[in-house]
Each structure stands twice: as C-alpha cells, then as structure tokens.
C-alpha cells in the first residue's frame, strides 16, 4: 500500500512563520472588533452528527462514523452548530444573543481545483426571537463593513435582499420546481438561459440590477407592486445609512441576490477584495428551525493569503 506520510491532504496546508502570523494577526483584529461590540466567543466541536447538517449537499461534506455506527460530519459551517447551541444550552438566555467564533470549516471540493478544503473563518451570529427587519440588522451590517475595512484592502461591500426574488415568484404564481430553476439562473446571472424561458421579463431584468445608487431608480421603474416598492424604499434607507456612516463609495447593491442556502432569508451581503476571485465575507439574515438571526463570516484563510501578496493578482 502506498503511504502518504510525507504530505498533507489536498485542500489543506501547513502554515509556517509569516503565513501563520498573517492569519493570527487578522484573527486577532477581527475577534477584538467583535468582542468590542459585545459579542461573546464560543467554540463548537469539529465533529457533529450528520443530522445537524442534513440540509447540506452530502457530497460537499467530509463524513465518518462513530463507535455506534452513527454518521458524523466534520463541520462544514459554523452557523448551524451555533444555532443548535442557542436552541439548547442557551435557550433560556435573554435575547438577543450575540455570539462570535474563530474556527475552521471543512468542505469537499472537486479534485485538483486549487480550492481550500479547510477554511479558517471569524464570524458573528446575532440571534433574536423576532424575525423582523430591525435596527439590529443595520448594526450587524455596519459591523460586517467594519470587519472588511479592517482587512485593509481595496474592498467592496455589497448588499442584496432575497425578498425581491421571492415576492416576484409569488406575484407571478410560479411553481416551486420552476422557481428553483429560475433562482439558479438568476443567481448565476445566466441572461441567455433566462431569455429563452417562458417567464415574465422582470426575471431577466432582476439579475441586471446591481451597482451603485442608480440601481434604485431602475428598480423603481421595474417594480410594480406596493409591496416591492415598500421593500425597495426600506432597502434604500439601509444602503444610504451604510454609505454615509461606514463604507462610503465602497458599498454597492445587487437586487438579484437569491437565498442559495435555504436557511437564508431577507438581507444578504458579501465583501469583495481585489485579487481574490471569491467573496472574502459572506453573510445574511436566516431562519433555522425556530431561530432567526443575522450573521456573517470572514474567510480568514483568503484574507491572510491576500495580505501576504501570496494570492494570484
């Protein structure tokens, strides 16, 4: 049998000296920021029962069995375990719960795609009982914008809301199967495939609604119902507040965001940095079981690599 005793598994790496320091520096910066805003750190186990993550695609998770033959996964996400914690040991704690974490997640990627299977993340979860768009959302959005600012790159902070897509699906009475197909195409801005489908034009226009403040004017012409217009106005307020108080011209919007993880609903946001082909921050509103909240995670591995100029530029 061939031995693999001299190398690390695909998608993982040893971090030496400066690489190590770069990651720790960012972790410290972010965790200090989160704790300064009143978030308390928690650590969840790397191993969880598969049942905790049964909403995730099977093939994306590392799995093993315990001594009783039960299926386990190596944590592919930190939000769901923290919700588990909030609904069990912290169920009697006064809400809102403000929790933060600094831990790694594990995902199975296609072979030799050059992606991380092990990713270090720092993030927060703001857990509340009511699920309304409220002042707490804007606080978390501000914190996310601060977090991405703290990474010191030429950054872009982008907000969207899955609500627009969902309302359009309902207003146009589109069935669940078709809705999922359209959602995927909207998510990948697949204009050619959307334009040959027999669907209202608004679904072709929706994914094009991204950019700066001018998007609101375009959307205002395209959105007909009062419900959409009302949500657009609320969303514009959030955008203006973030623009004035935190991110300036670095904030953009994308109304074509849809909730790809089925636990997300409402506001969704991403952070981008030049030189990294994937978002370095992802977050949003969610409802998992009976718990609502808003949270985000910074991809510390990617930020650390960027900070060392070690990423393809």
């Amino acid at each position: 049998m061939k031995k693999h005793n001299l190398i690390t598994p695909e998608g993982t790496r040893d971090l030496l000296f400066e690489e190590c320091k770069a990651r720790r520096d960012i972790e410290t910066k972010l965790m200090d920021l989160f704790k300064g805003e009143g978030y308390s750190e928690v650590i969840t186990p790397s191993l969880e029962f598969y049942d905790v993550f049964n909403s995730f695609p099977q093939e994306s998770m590392y799995k093993l069995t315990d001594a009783k033959g039960r299926l386990m996964v190596i944590r592919p996400d930190s939000t769901i375990p923290i919700i588990r914690l909030a609904e069990t040991r912290l169920k009697d704690e006064p809400r809102p719960l403000k929790l933060c974490y600094n831990q790694t997640i594990y995902n199975v990627n296609p072979k030799d795609a050059g992606r991380d299977d092990e990713t270090a993340q720092c993030g927060v979860e703001y857990i509340n009982d009511e699920n309304s768009m409220s002042g707490s959302d804007i606080k978390v959005l501000k914190l996310a914008a601060e977090a991405i600012k703290a990474t010191n790159f030429d950054f872009r902070f982008e907000i969207g809301n899955g609500f627009f897509f969902e309302v359009l699906i309902k207003e146009n009475r589109i069935e669940a199967n078709d809705a999922e197909k359209i959602r995927q195409l909207v998510e990948e801005k697949n204009y050619p495939a959307l334009s040959v489908m027999n669907i209202p034009d608004i679904f072709i226009e929706l994914p094009k609604l991204f950019g700066g403040g001018e998007v609101f004017d375009k959307a205002d012409k395209l959105f007909k119902s009062d419900n959409l217009k009302k949500c657009l106005n609320m969303f514009k307020k959030v955008y203006n507040e973030l623009r004035e108080k935190v991110a300036g011209e670095n904030i953009t919007i994308d109304l074509g965001f849809t909730s790809k993880r089925d636990y997300y609903e409402g506001i969704l946001f991403n952070g981008y940095a030049a030189g990294c082909g994937k978002p370095i921050l992802e977050g949003g509103n969610y409802k998992i079981n009976n718990t609502s909240g808003i949270g985000f995670a910074v991809n510390v591995s990617a930020v650390a690599r960027l900070s060392r100029g070690n990423y393809a530029k």
Binding site: P110, A113, G114, D154, R156, E158, E188, K189, N190, Y191, P192, A193, F210, G211, T252, D254, Y272, A274, G275, C276, G277, K278, P279, A312, K313
Partner: protein, 210 residues
C-alpha cells in the same frame, strides 16, 4: 493583475478564431493576438486588455479563480465541468449539439439489460440518463468516441455533433438530442462587481457586434 486591466481567457482553436474576428469588429487591434506565435498571453494595444489562450476547462478554472475576468468557452465545457461564474452572453458561434448516437438501425432503449455508453463527457452522460431514471455503464474515451460501438465496447455514444458527417461515415446515427451548444461569455463573480464599469462596456460592445 492591475485593477484596471481586463483579462480575457479564450478557448484555443475554433472559438479562438471566431472570437478574434469578433474583437476585430469591436475595433480591437488584434495583430498581437493573431501573430502570437508561442506566446500564451497577448496584449490588445491601447485597450488595457490582455487575452490568455487556454484549453476549454482551463478557461473555466482561470475565470473561477479570478485570475481572468472574462472567459469565452463552449457551453459543452460549462455543462460538463460546472463551476461558479456568471454566464452573461450567448455568443451564437461555435454551434453544435450533444447527442446520443447508436449503430444505424439499432434499438437503444429496448430490453432489460444495462446499456454501456462511451463518451468524453461522463458528467453530461450521467446527468442525462440520471434524469430519465436510467442506470447506464459509462466508459470514458479520450479520442474518437465513435470507435466504441464499432468495436462493440458500447451500445451507444454521447458526443458533440456538428454536422453529423463523422457519425454517418462510421455507420452511426443520432437518435436523441441532449442539449444545444454554443460559445458563451462567462465572468468571474467578483470581477463583475469590482470592475463593473469596464466590464459593462466590453460586454455591451461584444453584444453589439455579434
């Protein structure tokens, strides 16, 4: 890559020629691209644009990682390899189709036996038969897939068909079309946002000149 440079990954071969023509129509000076010799990266003079010439799956890889902002690649590669990027334009050239073909006159769907299908595109094949709830054995062939049924290795093939003449010359016939294929313009999801102005301009120029 400097922030204001736009890098385009271009699929080597047939699509490269068509795309170079398209760039010419857009007013790009494509002399460095046409006469690139063994150079793999060609600058477009005066446009802050670079063109990288690569094999089809590599175009996807470069765009996904964000080392190229835009890619020009066949829908066949996109369906087979997947990945995360925006697929913003159907360029309309490089047209062909994925089809199921068998030896002329043979019945593919009859009987109780599990069929064997030879292909260069195992994912396309698996998804196609999977959507019919049908188990098939898939054999991956790297070169001329038409050989497999002729050598009795497979009952049928799933392959790209343009005119169908190769099939006919080898005594095979198309019995079912799986998907229509043409060249697509794909964009990295982060570039689309960070370089919106530049990319919007290029994409609309491309669209105007199709």
């Amino acid at each position: 890559m400097q922030n204001n440079v736009i890098r385009i990954a271009l699929t080597k071969g047939r699509l490269e020629k068509k795309a170079t023509e398209l760039f010419g129509k857009m007013g790009f000076d494509t002399s460095l691209l046409s006469d690139r010799g063994r150079q793999l990266i060609a600058r477009i003079p005066g446009r802050n644009t670079e063109v990288v010439v690569a094999k089809p799956p590599d175009v996807l890889t470069f765009v996904e990682h964000g080392v190229c902002d835009i890619g020009i690649v066949g829908k066949d590669t996109i369906i087979e390899c997947g990945g995360e990027y925006f697929e913003v334009l159907d360029l309309g050239f490089g047209k062909c189709r994925f089809s199921l073909a068998v030896k002329k006159g043979e019945e593919f769907y009859g009987g109780y036996g599990v069929k064997t299908v030879a292909t260069k595109y195992p994912n396309v094949t698996r998804n196609f038969f999977g959507s019919k709830g049908m188990d098939v054995d898939i054999v991956k062939i790297e070169g001329s897939v038409e050989l497999a049924p002729l050598l009795d290795l497979a009952d049928g093939i799933v392959d790209l068909v343009e005119t169908g003449s190769t099939l006919r010359e080898n005594g095979l016939e198309e019995i079912e079309e799986i998907a229509q294929i043409s060249a697509r313009l794909i964009v990295n999801t982060v570039s689309m946002k960070l370089k919106k102005q530049n990319l919007d301009e290029i994409i609309s120029r491309i669209e105007e000149n199709l």
